[in-house]
Structures are given as structure tokens and as C-alpha cells.
């Protein structure tokens, strides 16, 4: 038996050796042995078959990297080889191998390095998997992913467009309700009106939430960095919920750390939005007791502070199992909540997303029936301790606008009616023009203190009308304050407005106080011939903007006028530079297009829009080139010679490049910022 056993084993040994050889040669994967420099010294049949090479063509003839197309070879040299040497092995690196007949074979490669006793590499052993099929799937998956992302983007855009569209009629509804409330009405009508007003305000709130949400979703929201007095900010926020709290008999408490730095750098709008949402919820879900806001200083260095914000209430609380759910979009703790309290269920989700922009997280602690506490912490840079400049639009008194001479350019009859009702109330002396053409004509006919300009009108839109007014020869037209009215949000069109020479912007549906304050601000400055604080770039009446070209060989530009304009306000200056960069990027393209297509009209249009900004930047070289271009283009009607036009196009492009590079560098070095537009 023993002997038999032995021979049995011997037989098997032979079989095993034979099958190991067979397995090596015919395995469903390729095997390769290479020297450390990549030279192939052994390869199995499977690999040779895949690649279409005979053994003698490959062994000691080619390196592994010789089988790679050039991009793969660069990857081999910069990633694969170093990684293999450092790690001793490499797993699942994706290469395309070039077959003898030139087609590519997608493979995954695993390599182990064999070392001698001095741990010097002597041989690399590589296993090669053919992934032709998987590559196909990957491509298909990628395609499907792109398709899905595109579809989501289109939907989001649709949502955003529709919401914008809804805001315009909402303006009319809310404003009319306000006006009606100021007329004589019966008790019954009063109730109807209050309901109408409250419902439409709710609806507007909802639409704004949806808009915010879709913007956050599409990554179009960026944080501004401005000097913020936190104490002032939170006090005014509390003021906003005071009436609602008083109606319910709730106490409002505010506690601020006594060491709180007076000013920090942050985005007051976004921080305010989050806190308003939390405070609003707290009041909404609390029937008795109090709502308190607490600001605590957690960390303070000479550069930045970490501040925690907590909103605590004594309301209904949130059941434990629903704590995370409240942050999901369109979700409230339960269906009854929606019935009883209303709301979109978007507020907390928006707040959480906004805070994520700050790298912060909104957390909640709650006990059902006892109340909830929502907290978040922000790391904010310190601002300068300088007190805020007195501002004529500060709350407290209603500025007098009686007797201001104003032109309203607006095509929508409902809007005209609403706005003019306010004007009548305030004693504003106004005229109305129903489109851009009529608006420009009116401005030429009469002197106004101020123009309110709708942006989207038939025949001639607000941008064009403003640009026309700015390009009128007399200097008073450069100084006339023009405020845009639009249902779009300011950020979306800041560039165009700046380009057109619009000074400021009021969003529809507008807030009557804001409208009144802005009229007062600009009209007062205009009547006294004072410079006014403005929002956009291209508008400030600057004598230098229209002085003739002095020194075409001087520096490309300088920021001195910008600095004079804005004084010490670095944040505004930064914003101004950013806006200018975007502005120039657009115009760089426009000038090229106009020159290539020899479109004099477009060219001149762009000239009008950019001249003031160039003046502000003292960018004489570019201004000079653009003027030359205009002359050439005018002559070009009578000549076929394209060469001078090409040359000037190149020169303009180059000057824009120089300016953009300089401005971008300023942005980087002065504020450590890059230009990331809010809108793509």
C-alpha cells in the first residue's frame, strides 16, 4: 500500500508540474516578467496572443513601456515606475497597450517587484487583465452620468426661470394689497386684504426659497466678504421677528459674548438668512416661553475668530427619530406640522447648505415638548475696528423725497401704476416713459434728478437706453443717477449693468422703504452736485474718463482712481476689480467678434460700454487701440485689406490680456482671491 501510495503521489507531482506550466501559458490573463528598467524577459502565450507578437519579437527586444502610446508612457515614467519602486508593488493601473497591428488593448496591470538580499530590485512580475468589455461599460456609465447631470441642470434652470417669472406678478399683487390697505375699506375688506397680503407674502417667501435652493444646488452661490458688525446685524434680525414674537407673547433674548470683536469679515446676507430662518422657525414653533439668540466667542487670534451662534426656543421640539430629517429638503418632522404651521421645508436645508459654504455645520439638540436649540460656528477673519460711516439710509427716519424730479422708464402698466402711487404719496415729481427710446428722448428734453429704469423692455431695453444716455455728449448725462428695476437678482446682471453705466439696482418686488431711501440718496447727491456712493463700476462721473489720450506708451493701467473712489474700502475695491475682470473678459470677446465680422455697430456699442471703465483704470493703451480699431473699421467699408484689422485685433486682444493678467494678479496678491464668478 505504501509503495502504491508513493507512486500515486509521484504521478500527481508530474501532473501538477505540467498543469502549472499550462496554467502559466494559457491562463486567462497575461503574465510578464521584466527587468527593473522595463525590458521584457518572459511573457506567457496569452499575452503574446493578445498582443499579436511572437516571443522572439518581444523577449529581450522591447521594454514594457515600448508597448504604450506616448501618454501612457508619460504616466509610466511619472507615476507607475516611481510608485512601484517606492511601494514594491502596484495594483490595477489602467493602461492601453499597443498591439503589433497598432490597435489598442485596454488592460489593468498588477506588478510585484522582486528584490535581492540588499533589497535592490531585480525583477518585476506583472499580471495583465484584458478589460475591453469593462471599458465599454465604463464609457456607457460615464455617458449616462453626464446625461443625468445635464438633465438635472436643465431642470434646475427651468425652476429658476419660472421662479423669476413668478416674482414679477407677485410684485404687483403685494404692492396693490399694500396700496389698498392705505385706502378706505370696510372691516370685512380689511380681513380679506390682510389675508391676501399674508398669503402673497408667504408665496413670495416660498418662491425665494426655491430660487435660493436651486442656486445652491447648481453651485451658483458664492460668499461675499464684507465688514460686518455682528452686534448690529443680530439686533436688526431680532427686530425682524419682534412683532411675530410679541403677538404670541414670547420673550426675545439676546446674549453676546462681551469679548466679541466689533467687526468681522463675512457675508451678512447669508449669515442673516440662516439666522432669520432659525429665529423664524423658533418663533413659529413656540407657543409660550422664549426664543433666545446667543453668540459666543470660542476662539480669538489676531487674525480670526471662531464664533458660535445658537438659537434656542421653548417650543414643541422635535422627536428624536426626526432630528436628522428636518435638514432634508422638502421634509418637515411630520405631515401634521405642515398642516399646522405651513412652510416649504426648505429653510433648514438651505441654511445647512449655506453654512457648508463656510465649512460649518448646523447642529440641533431637542427634546420633544421642551424646545430645540440650533447651533453653528463660523470661523471669520477680523475686520477693521473703524466705526461704520454715517449713512443717510440708516433706519430711524424716513428721508424726504418730496419735490425730487424723477423719470420712470417702465413698460409694464401695472408696475407703472404701483410705483407711481408711491411717488404720489411721497410727493415725487415724476414722468413716465414706456420704453427705452422714449426714455432717452425724455432725458434729452428735460433735466431729472434721477432715472428709474426697467431693464427688460421692448424696442430698446434698459441697458441700451442707459448706455445711450451715458453716451450723450453733455457731461451731465454721465452724472445722472440711473437705478435699474428688475425681477432678476442683482448679481446675475451686475456686469451688464456696470457695462451700461447703471448706478444701482432695486429688485422687484421692491421694498418701498428701500426705494424711498435710494431715491433720497441719489437725488440729494445729484441736486447738491455731490459724488454719490454707487454700486457698480462703469458709472462714476470721472473727468479723466473723457480726457483725450495722453500717453499711449505709459503703463497699461493703474488702480489709483478706483482707490480714490472707494477710499479705504478694500472689500468694495476687491469687488470692483472682480467685476471689472468679468466685464473685460466679455468685452475682449466682443471686440474680436466685431472686428472679425467687421460689424461697426457692435464695435461702437462695446466702445460705449467700456470707455468709462477704461477711463477709471487709466488704461490709455487699450483705449488708444480701441479708438484706432474704430477708425480702421470705419475705413474698412471701402477697402478689402484685412491685414490692418487683424493687427489691431491682435493688439486689442493683447492689451486686454495684459489688463486681465494685472487685475488677476492684484486680486491674488492683495486679497488672496481668485475670480470665481457667481454665475457661470
Amino acid at each position: 500500500m505504501r509503495k502504491g501510495d508513493h507512486s500515486y503521489r509521484m504521478d500527481h507531482k508530474g501532473l501538477i508540474e505540467e498543469s502549472a506550466e499550462d496554467l502559466y501559458e494559457n491562463a486567462p490573463c497575461g503574465y510578464l516578467s521584466t527587468l527593473p528598467n522595463g525590458l521584457i524577459v518572459k511573457a506567457n502565450k496569452t499575452f503574446l496572443k493578445w498582443m499579436g507578437y511572437a516571443a522572439e519579437e518581444l523577449l529581450y527586444q522591447k521594454k514594457f513601456q515600448d508597448l504604450l502610446p506616448i501618454g501612457g508612457r508619460m504616466y509610466y515614467e511619472t507615476h507607475y515606475a516611481p510608485l512601484l519602486r517606492m511601494q514594491g508593488f502596484v495594483t490595477e493601473i489602467n493602461f492601453d497597450l499597443r498591439r503589433k497591428k497598432r490597435q489598442l488593448l485596454p488592460v489593468l496591470v498588477n506588478t510585484t517587484q522582486l528584490k535581492d538580499e540588499n533589497s535592490k530590485p531585480i525583477l518585476n512580475r506583472t499580471t495583465v487583465f484584458n478589460i475591453t468589455d469593462r471599458k465599454g461599460y465604463e464609457k456607457e456609465l460615464l455617458r449616462a452620468k453626464k446625461q443625468a447631470e445635464e438633465a438635472t441642470r436643465i431642470k434646475a434652470e427651468f425652476l429658476s426661470t419660472v421662479s423669476h417669472e413668478i416674482r414679477t406678478p407677485m410684485n404687483a399683487i403685494i404692492s396693490i394689497a399694500n396700496l389698498l390697505l392705505e385706502t378706505n375699506y370696510t372691516q370685512e375688506q380689511s380681513q380679506y386684504l390682510s389675508t391676501l397680503k399674508a398669503s402673497s407674502e408667504n408665496l413670495l417667501h416660498l418662491i425665494n426659497d426655491i430660487l435660493d435652493f436651486s442656486k445652491l444646488e447648481s453651485g451658483k452661490v458664492a460668499l461675499a466678504e464684507r465688514e460686518v458688525d455682528l452686534k448690529e446685524l443680530v439686533t436688526s434680525l431680532l427686530h425682524g421677528v419682534r412683532i411675530a414674537a410679541q403677538d404670541k407673547g414670547l420673550a426675545l433674548k439676546l446674549a453676546i459674548d462681551k469679548d466679541m470683536p466689533p467687526r468681522v469679515l463675512g457675508d451678512p446676507v447669508k449669515i442673516g438668512q440662516v439666522l432669520t430662518n432659525l429665529l423664524g422657525n423658533a418663533v413659529k414653533f413656540t407657543e409660550r416661553g422664549s426664543v433666545s439668540l446667543e453668540l459666543e466667542l470660542e476662539e480669538l487670534t489676531d487674525k480670526e475668530a471662531v464664533i458660535s451662534f445658537c438659537v434656542e426656543d421653548t417650543g414643541i421640539g422635535i422627536p428624536k427619530d426626526k432630528l436628522e430629517k428636518v435638514f432634508e429638503e422638502f421634509a418637515q418632522a411630520d405631515y401634521d406640522i405642515n398642516l399646522r404651521y405651513g412652510g416649504t421645508g426648505l429653510g433648514l436645508s438651505i441654511s445647512r447648505k449655506l453654512l457648508a459654504l463656510y465649512g460649518s455645520k448646523l447642529t440641533v439638540k431637542s427634546q420633544e415638548g421642551q424646545g430645540s436649540t440650533f447651533c453653528f460656528a463660523l470661523r471669520l477673519k477680523l475686520g477693521q475696528a473703524a466705526p461704520a460711516l454715517p449713512n443717510d439710509t440708516a433706519a430711524g427716519h424716513e428721508p424726504d423725497v418730496a419735490g425730487v424730479k424723477l423719470l420712470l422708464v417702465e413698460d409694464n402698466a401695472v408696475n407703472v401704476m404701483v410705483v407711481t402711487k408711491y411717488f404720489e404719496k411721497w410727493g415725487v415729481d415724476f414722468d413716465v416713459a414706456t420704453n427705452g427710446v422714449a426714455g432717452v428722448a425724455k432725458v434729452m428734453e428735460q433735466d431729472y434728478d434721477l432715472v428709474l429704469m426697467d431693464l427688460h423692455m421692448p424696442e430698446m431695453d434698459g441697458y441700451e437706453a442707459t448706455a445711450k444716455i451715458r453716451s450723450l455728449p453733455e457731461s451731465k448725462y454721465k452724472q445722472l443717477p440711473i437705478i435699474a428695476l428688475s425681477a432678476s437678482t442683482e448679481k446675475d446682471f451686475a456686469e451688464e449693468m456696470a457695462g451700461a453705466g447703471i448706478n444701482d439696482f432695486i429688485s422687484k418686488p421692491f421694498n418701498a422703504t428701500e426705494l424711498r431711501n435710494k431715491i433720497a440718496h441719489y437725488a440729494y447727491a445729484a441736486t447738491k452736485g455731490l459724488p454719490y456712493h454707487t454700486t457698480f463700476t462703469g458709472q462714476q462721473p470721472m473727468p479723466t474718463a473723457h480726457t483725450p489720450l495722453q500717453n499711449p506708451d505709459g503703463p497699461a493701467y493703474d488702480l489709483s482712481t478706483f482707490e480714490e473712489l472707494l477710499g479705504e474700502n478694500e472689500a468694495d475695491l476687491e469687488e470692483l476689480v472682480k467685476i471689472t475682470i468679468r466685464n473685460f473678459e466679455v468685452f475682449q470677446g466682443k471686440f474680436q467678434a466685431a472686428l472679425v465680422s467687421r460689424n461697426l455697430e457692435d464695435y461702437k456699442f462695446s466702445c460705449h460700454k467700456i470707455t468709462v471703465t477704461l477711463g477709471l483704470l487709466n488704461a490709455w493703451r487699450l483705449q488708444h487701440a480701441i479708438t484706432q480699431g474704430k477708425d480702421l473699421l470705419e475705413e474698412a467699408a471701402t477697402t478689402a485689406d484685412q491685414k490692418p484689422l487683424d493687427e489691431i485685433a491682435k493688439a486689442i486682444h493683447l492689451e486686454f490680456d495684459v489688463l486681465l493678467a494685472g487685475l488677476n494678479a492684484t486680486l491674488l496678491h492683495r486679497w488672496n482671491q481668485t475670480d470665481t464668478p457667481d454665475t457661470p
Partner: protein, 262 residues
Amino acid sequence: MRVTERNNVNVRGTGEKALIFAHGFGCDQNMWRFVTPAFEDTHKIVLFDNVGAGKSDSSAYNKLKYETLQGYADDVLEICEALELERPVFVGHSVSSMIGALAAIQAPEMFEKLIMVGPSPCYINKEDYIGGFSQEDILELLESLDSNYLGWSTATAPAIMGNPDRPELGEELTNSFCRTNPEIAKHFARTTFLSDNRADLKKLQTKSLILQCSDDMIAPVEVGEFVHRNVADSEMILLEATGHCPNLSAPEETIAAIKSFL
């Protein structure tokens, strides 16, 4: 943010004189692991990761700043200032050779000497200049970066899917030496391979050594010779080592060459 954290700066060694080792495109400071021990008894060794690579703080990555190699050169100077280094010697591999050269041009007094391992001032063939590549080649590289970062390779999969079943592979493997955020890797590749710093070479005053490999497809011998011809105060050593990373494939030869120049 502190410069030393931003660039994951590591200082070791016992000497007075500092040697700064800068890694090239692809991996991180580990590229120098076979070379630096030879200098630890005699020098202060400064190692760092370019922003976006290794354990640097990739939140400091800024497309505009790193659009050109000058952005990386600024970082090098900031590291020298932060560590208060006295006339250090800069050793740069691959693209970091040019980064070092740009830093030395900007601050001519900063470095005592410059050692460039496999430098190339311009990778793309232009007129009568041979850089070794065409524009299309670079696009191909970007594509292979794409497939290697998105191709479910296990080197990156843990980053995407976590690695719950094989915790032992956690740090060591997944934090592998050549892992970079794919977007940053692509941008760095573009910045690197589309750079043209030929004109800068003539401005370089610092005494320089060029270490050229024998069979380097990334920086061929012609390129090394070009650098040598154009840098006024330079020497060139042609290594027997092949490939682009003599610091890994032939550390002894690399060490000897560096020592001969110090």
C-alpha cells in the same frame, strides 16, 4: 494657514547647511526616500509636497496661482523664509528643477546652489527646439490620467468607496505616494507640460548642476544640453541611470553626483 502645513514641510538631519529636496510631477516627497539618508548626518534636510500633492493642504490649491510654475516658485521662497534657511542648496526633480530656477531668478541671493534632476524648460517641440513631445502627446497624458483616476483602480477606489473590509490596507496603501486629487493632477500636468521657461534660463545666475539620465523620455539628453548651454554658471553630469527618476532607480549614482557638486 501656515506655510509648513500647507506644503507638509518636514525637516530632519543634523547638519547646519540646508538641502531642500523638491519632488516632480506625479508623486510626493517620498520620491527622495533613497537619497536623503545619505545627507542626514551632514545636512539639514528639508522635504515638502507641492500644493495638491501628497499630504499638502489641497484646500490651498488655487487654479489661478498655480496656472504657471511661478506660483510653485513663490511657495518655495515662502518655505525658505518660514524656516529662515541660510543660503540653502535646492535640489529639484523634474518640473521642480524649473520651479527652483524660477525661485532663484526671483531671489538671486536665496540659494547657494541649484541641482536640477532631469530638468526641462519646455516639453513641447517648437521650431528648431526639441522638447520631446507634441501638443497632442500632452492631451494623451491628460487622458491617461483620467482613466487611471476614474478607472476604479484600487489605488483610488478607497478614496471613492472607503475601505471597510481591508483596514490594514488603509493608510499605507491608499495613501499611496502618487495620489493626487484628479482635478489638481490634471491641472498640474497641464501647467507642467505646457510650460515654456526657455527664456528664463539665461536669467539664472545661481551656480547650477544638471543631472541628466541616459534614456529619459520625459527629458531627453538634448533638453539637458539645452539647459546646460543656456544657464551661465552650470555643469552637467550624464548619469548611466535610465528613465526619468534616477533618485529612485539609481540612488547611489544620484547621491554621488550631488556630493561631488556640494
